[in-house]
Amino acid sequence: MGVMRVSVDVGGTFTDVIVMDEVGGLRLEKVETTPHEPERGVLEGFDKAEVALPDIGFFIHGTTLGINALLTSGGARVAIITTLGFRDVYELGRTDREPMYDFKYRKPPSLVPRHRVFEVEERMTFQGDVHTPFDRLQAEDVAASLRALGVTSVAVCFLHSYANPEHELAMERILGAVCPEVSVTLSHRLLREYREYERTSTAVIDAYIKPLTRSYLDKLDGQLGGAGFAGQFLLTRSGGGAMTLESAKEHPVHLVLSGPAGGVIGAAHLSDLLGTPNLITIDMGGTSLDVSLIEGGRARVEHNQSFRTLPISIPSLDIHTIGAGGGSIAWIDDGGHLQVGPQSAGAVPGPACYGKGGTEATFTDAALAVGYLDPDNFLGGEIGLDSAAAETAIATLAASLRLSPEETASGILRIGEAKIAGAVREISIERGYHPKDFALLAFGGAGALVAAGVARELGIPRVIVPPGPANFSAFGMLMVDVVHDFSQTHVTELSTVDIAAMNAIYASLVARGRDALTADGFAEDRWQFLPSAQLRYQGQEHAVTLPLAGHELTRSGIDTILEDFSAAHERQYGHSMKDPVEIVTLRLRAVGLLSRPHIPELAAADRSSDGARSGQRAVYLPAAVAGTNYAVFDRARLPRDHRLKGPAIIEEPSSTTVLHAGDAVRVGTYGELVIDIGSTEEETP
């Protein structure tokens, strides 16, 4: 087996390829995504990166196949099988809606029309006892009718199956016998947790993308094998970490929200490497911005995510997306105020300055107009920016605002930054943190452009821009371990808990973890089990997930859990109570540890700084005197430990970092830019 590590991250427009050799040397490539034949794009990526497949020891793949199927309604013809009397649980959902004043609200079209929802007589109680026996004959009839309807994939979700899955398993056996060609998703295999709609929705999304995911992965695996690939084939997962090819084919729902996961995984790794345990990450691309929190070196995991309005209740990295990207359109509302986004010019036509037919002013146009961007050095000069087009678009807005074009352009940036800052703050506060206790890690094509402004807005003292920020997501994918998550809802009061029963549940979760890691080929010394429990005050709805020291509880351990819960509640919600505490769900994350790649340090002073300064530009910002000069530097030529003061602009082919007057930057050990906000530190020789 080879020693190269390769990550291939398929995005909407481009596929990023990163090849890392055994000493940590990196090669970054981009090829166009081939939506109709995605495996071809992957193979072309290998070609362009000039990597021989037999040399690859470890291949990690990020695919948007699942989410694209959801976005384009291109998934399987799915049926749902549920408990008699509950056909409409899926269509009803939680009956809520987001827009508050829309009297004509319509839900997005359903993935499963009502006529493909079937009922079988059966019923479990919440304690897992059989209330109504499973009706086999009825189940066989249902299975037979799936064929007639041309169903290719089925989601089975019975009430309380999290407490006792026997009836779902019985249904699976019948489906296997009657219509073996239909792919089957059982809700309890994805989550052993209560809330029937959320479980059904998760199972439906899994069923919806399963046939095409399987077919794609089989094809890709076959072609890679044919070309001599014999390494480990992994996929990035929504919940962090990676999953094996086999797991991905079995539970593809774990792929759906994995798009922005690579960057967050990379951030957690970088946090460890740099000794900065608390990071807020912003990943800003063309259409949107993803925010997440790394606390104590770990990415946060959330259990109630969704795709649009459809719940996906599997552990997913806690990533919040807002409509603020380089392509966000600036516009004037009916009251005459300037607004930015959430509509985006996207890749086509894109910002006006791209010269591809866009006429509306975007965030990127404003960044160009104020002087943040160099029209002749964007994407390393591959794309020339059309300053005149940006100015024309901005002049239209300026006229109706009765402001100068410069004021308008800087206004677009200020409003954009205020929106981003608001989102970052709300997310931090909601999770019980204050942004000033974090450093801001900025990546994506546009993250470093706004980071200093956003940090200043939030009182965040430090910004970090990793090397190669535009490719950081693909880079992060190289840092994964293999992860499986298991859970079991078991609502019970903690102080009177039956410890033996609790330990029996953990033992069963650990057994499932062992089986999964063994099947993945991990030896016992590469296993790691991370137990946690979701707890809440009795009567409260929202729960706190608390990591546990071990998965064998003791009576005295319960007291520790109570204290930890109280402290966690105090931090997250500002107060604790004397009320009884109850367990809601027990969780276990089973990790198969992979070897970590070596990240090379930037050799000290191996590059002269003399040539790094490439010029200066006048930048218009309202806080400064119009036309303040920002010194411009070439990032590739900045040596380790080099320090410089703002105002300055640091350019690299796919990204631009801006620092303002009062900010100071230092080039860190691995080439990261560490910016102290508002610092007046003198430049040192």
């Binding site: 009397g85 509950f86 056909r87 409409d88 649980v89 269509e91 009803l92 939680r94 009956t95 809520d96 809606r97 987001e98 827009p99 508050m100 004043y101 829309d102 009297f103 004509k104 609200y105 319509r106 839900k107 009502r114 006529h115 109680t125 919440f126 009430l159 309380h160 809330r195 029937e196 959320e198 509302d333 009916d334 009251g335 005459g336 105020h337 300037l338 607004q339 605002l401 402001l403 004021e407 206004g411 200020r414 409003i415 205020a418 608001g422 989102a423 703050r425 709300e426 506060i429 909601e430 609502v491 005050y537 009567g539 409260q540 709805e541 919600y573 500002g574 107060h575 109570m577 004397k578």
Partner: protein, 577 residues
């Protein structure tokens, strides 16, 4: 410090401050939802909150329910009148639930904290939240009080914090007057913490921009809200239109329908909503405090003018609300006000009046209610009191642009969610027997009304069942030739000799007693014979419409075996019709 009312602040700074205020209100919302102690707050979003200037003008809000839009405005004004600005100090948190001022029932307690920058009063935060119990006459909910004095403890602008110090006497008073003191005090803490969050954020904002710039921005934010509302209002046709509908009863006189009448006048300058002609004050607790009447008119106004922008006081400057004092739409002390369902229906009476003048803008009537079922009792396995509730979705009214949605929460409470079956059964001694859409409940029309929903509860232990339903005796109206939707109703103990078909009840249930809740469907829009037969077929295939209704109501013949259209028979039916 310079007081300058004519401060002009550049439009970019105004918008930046506006974003910060909206973000601060959302932070208050997130803080409250995640800290709250009772399921009703978390699942039903039964709260309203916002940030105000020193004149009690609302700058930004993030209510849980649309019916709480502007819900604290009147209460805050009355609070300032009652206490006087000189008696409000930094660090205070003040409770108000006197319904005629707070504009809600006694259990919706408003907490407010002043925002001081140094010693200068800059504004207020206000958070109103449904408390579980304040010693009102019945546990859970009151459906038949005849005066305010049966509805629980009143806080007439009482300071729970004075200059940052907890008022322990008031806390004890609450503790000793509530059936569920831990939960109530837990929720109160959540509410106070939310107030403090808003307070801190606004102070940070003023620190950064300075008080004069802040004040200048506030004026422009409100003026901007007004400009948008006036622009949209000017695009609506002028005229005066009236409409009526009826609540089932007032909770006491069970056989007397209660009239709501709204007359809406639109001119280029303003919209006036006048509730003259509505019923007089009722004996039972459905009298609406005037602040809430103003709030629901604001909701309807917002829906037809600026549904797409955040709400602030400026939005509502072109709106005027009239309701004769002492009528059911303007409660005077000591009238009982506990059951606020009048407000839910009044919103739709306003849209019904508007339908005559704005048939392209407003929809037909929805299922018309929130169809809430609540259970309260002692759990046999824990010995503790349990209280669980679920509201249900209604069919939305169809409109000029399309069908009404099936079974979603009433337009007064969009953020509210139903209570999952698996959660209900885990927490309460209940067995849910089915949860299903109601075939043929959507009003036929060229655009079909949305269908309602049915849920069947079997009680496993003795408990009280409360149904909070006031629209079962009149049907959801159609528009432009569309037909009525099916009304909602409740059935107790079906198939037994004690079977009762009813609306609002407070009933003791024995083990094995069954309650079936039917939520209404929406009205149709346009002539059903003009509905595309393919759409009718799809409705039949999906079971929203029966074969019989397809034939009779829509003039569409569908083959029962193949579920395909019989076009010739359809043509014959439609010509005959």
């Amino acid at each position: 410090m310079r007081e300058n009312a004519t401060n002009t602040v550049d439009p970019i700074t105004v918008e930046v401050i506006h974003h910060h205020l909206l973000s601060a209100a959302r932070e208050m919302n997130r803080n409250l939802v995640r800290t709250s102690y009772n399921t009703i707050v978390y699942e039903v979003h039964d709260f309203g909150l916002g940030i105000y200037d020193r004149k009690a003008r609302m700058l930004a809000e993030a209510p849980g329910l649309a019916s709480f839009t502007r819900g604290n405005d009147y209460g805050l004004q009355k609070l300032i009148e009652f206490l006087g600005l000189d008696n409000i100090d930094p660090g205070d948190v003040i409770l108000l639930n006197y319904p005629y001022w707070s504009s809600a029932h006694t259990l919706d307690v408003m907490a407010t904290s002043p925002i001081f920058h140094g010693d200068r009063l800059m504004g207020f935060t206000a958070v109103k939240l449904h408390w579980l119990d304040l010693g009102q006459k019945d546990a859970g909910y009151v459906l038949d009080s005849t005066s305010i004095f049966q509805e629980g403890v009143i806080f007439p602008c009482s300071k729970i914090y004075r200059r940052g110090v907890l008022n322990e006497e008031l806390e004890d008073l609450i503790r000793f007057n509530s059936r569920m003191p831990e939960r109530v005090l837990g929720d109160m803490n959540a509410q106070i913490s939310s107030c403090r969050t808003g307070e801190r954020r606004v102070v940070e904002l003023i620190d950064r921009f300075g008080p004069d710039t802040f004040d200048g921005a506030v004026e422009e934010i409100l003026d901007h809200g007004e400009r948008i509302a006036r622009t949209r209002l000017a695009a609506l046709p002028n005229g005066t239109w009236s409409a009526e509908d009826y609540l089932d009863d007032d909770g006491i006189d069970k056989d007397v329908l209660v009239k709501i009448r709204a007359t809406v006048t639109i001119t280029d300058e303003e919209m006036v909503v006048d509730f003259s002609g509505s019923a007089g004050a009722t004996r039972g607790p459905i009298n609406l405090p005037i602040g809430m009447t103003m709030g629901i008119a604001a909701l309807a106004f917002k829906g037809v003018t600026t549904p797409d922008t955040p709400a602030n006081e400026g939005n509502f400057r072109p709106l005027r609300v009239e309701a004769p004092p002492g009528s059911v739409m303007h409660a005077l002390p000591p009238s009982p006000t506990f059951t606020l369902w009048t407000g839910i229906q009044a919103v739709e009476v306003i849209t019904k009046a508007l339908a005559a003048g704005l048939p392209e803008v407003v929809p037909a009537c929805s299922g018309g209610d929130i169809f809430s079922v609540m259970g309260v009792g002692v759990h046999p396995s824990s010995g503790k009191i349990w209280l669980e509730a679920s509201n249900e979705g209604v069919g939305f009214g169809a409109n000029a642009g399309g069908d009404g949605e099936n079974a979603i929460m009433h337009l007064t409470e969009p953020g509210c969610r139903n209570n999952p079956i698996e959660v209900l059964e885990t927490k309460a001694p209940l067995h849910i027997e089915n949860y299903a859409l109601r075939q043929d409940s959507g009003g036929p029309g060229e655009h079909r009304g949305g269908v309602g929903v049915t849920r069947t509860y079997r009680f496993l232990a003795p408990a009280d069942a409360l149904t909070l339903v006031k629209k079962t005796k009149t049907k959801p109206w159609g528009m432009a030739g569309g037909s009525q939707g099916a009304n909602g109703y409740v059935v107790l103990r079906p198939g037994t000799d004690r079977e009762t078909v009813t609306g609002m009840v407070y009933e003791a249930m024995a083990p094995d007693d069954v309650l079936v809740n039917h939520a209404g469907g929406g009205g149709g829009w346009g002539d059903p014979f003009r509905r595309d037969p393919e759409s009718v077929l799809a409705d039949v295939v999906n079971g929203y419409v029966s074969l019989a209704s397809a034939r009779e109501d829509y003039g569409v013949a569908v083959d029962a075996d193949t579920l395909t259209l019989d076009l010739a028979a359809t043509e014959a039916l439609r010509e005959g019709g």
